[in-house]
Symmetry: C2
Subunit: 259 residues, 2 copies
């Protein structure tokens, strides 16, 4: 067994997190918010940070007026009834279109995520100055998570893990759920194949999307329409499996039966 | 905003939960485990209960020796390299096969879940007496959740919610995550369409699989190879949206682009 709990796990959304702007030192902001929360960082804490604030700090904001849509983007935009400039951004972040329908554009993101709109989002990008902006996913969320983890560990002096989470739709279920775009310092995927069950029967094919479960747990307390609670401290998780980045959660194309 | 938190959310897996047998009074066992935990039930607590113990208490155990596979089950079993009796059970619990491959049989369960093996499982069914058994999903998990909720509310004298969770694979991501098969007393799906964002921009298409996020959070602490921690008490969640059962999380076929 790789994970077990009797002691409680505590999820604390850090309150009063400031609005993040391009170039902000996000690790510094997170450390300050942890300080304000009154929680003393402890070995094994996991900080789950919303993709939006990571993208903003990394300056992944594009003004739509600066985008010139290609002929392909214009054609796709007409079919899906979206702004051609937004579609241009989506296609530039994607390897291919997986499904398209009016109001729906599901793509394979350049990092392998199968997701709506390549994660390009116009909500909560602000400020409300009439300039239309869109926010792209971080360049490399696993690398961002690792960098945040290194900075925060130096500041805190304890071993922590970092997850960058986003909300994804699902093929056969309604509603989005939190998933891990990036992870550092914990096993994003737990491989339990070959472990015995309670009665000695070998488990057949059990891999657990552990970082996705942590990301969903954090999402449950982040609130979705509000950027005010983008950081959640998760305390009390224990694992013994090897560390794996969130890229381990992406199903390889050879295994995919639905693309 | 329907959900927000500054106060922490606490996830406690109830320890020393007994092995469940057909006919057991599961509400009584859960109430006893809550009692042993030292936690006093409070308004708004959510009890997440693993599907396996609900199925066992409801007697959804089948001895494979009692199953006579149909010609279709024998043919499918040969293609997917599974026991024809197990495939017979899977097909009898399903509306249709969605994908099949050696070692993979993804179906639409009679309740609409698109899932592997219709949830029919041979692990942890015990006892280790050489008799091969399989466990089916509850007949109606939303009804089971509502019945457990009614019993537990009577015992506790407070308003609680109940989720019955299971672990599902995903089309494009590796590893399983917890999902809500059944739910009572909370909004399984949160519809935030039309809410304003931080900067006054109307959110376009945000529905949140809230009960799935709670189910994943519980799964994170349940441990997957061990039946010893099937019940998790979640304390501190707050919601103001209307109650919806877990069936609201099933994407209607008309919306489905991947079946």
């Amino acid at each position: 067994m790789n994970v077990a709990h009797a002691a409680p796990v505590l999820l604390t959304a850090l309150s009063d997190f400031p609005l993040v702007r391009p170039g902000d030192d996000l690790a510094e902001l997170v450390a300050a918010a942890v300080g304000h929360s009154g929680l003393l960082p402890a070995d094994g804490d996991v900080l789950v940070i919303a993709q939006k604030v990571v993208s903003k700090a990394e300056g992944r904001i594009v003004e739509l007026a600066s985008v010139t849509p290609s002929a392909r983007a214009i054609a796709v935009a007409a079919a899906v009834q979206k702004d051609p400039r937004l579609v241009e951004l989506i296609l530039s972040e994607s390897r291919r279109i997986v499904r398209q329908r009016p109001n729906v554009l599901i793509v394979e993101h350049r990092l392998g995520f199968v997701m709506a709109n390549a994660g390009v989002d116009q909500s909560n990008v602000g400020p409300a100055d009439g300039v239309e902006r869109a926010l792209l996913l971080p360049e490399d969320p696993d690398r961002s998570a690792e960098a945040l983890r290194a900075c925060l560990q130096r500041k805190f002096g304890v071993r922590i893990a970092v997850i960058i989470n986003d909300s994804f739709g699902r093929a056969w279920r309604r509603g989005t759920v939190g998933v891990a775009l990036g992870a550092a310092g914990l096993p994003a995927l737990l491989d339990k194949r070959g472990d015995p069950d309670l009665f000695g029967r070998t488990l057949q094919a059990t891999m657990i999307g552990y970082a996705d479960e942590v990301a969903a747990a954090a999402s449950m307390v982040q609130g979705q329409a509000d950027e005010g609670l983008p950081v959640v401290l998760v305390r009390g998780l224990r694992w013994s499996a090897p560390t794996l980045p969130a890229s381990a959660l992406i199903r390889p194309e050879a295994e995919d039966m639905f693309r």
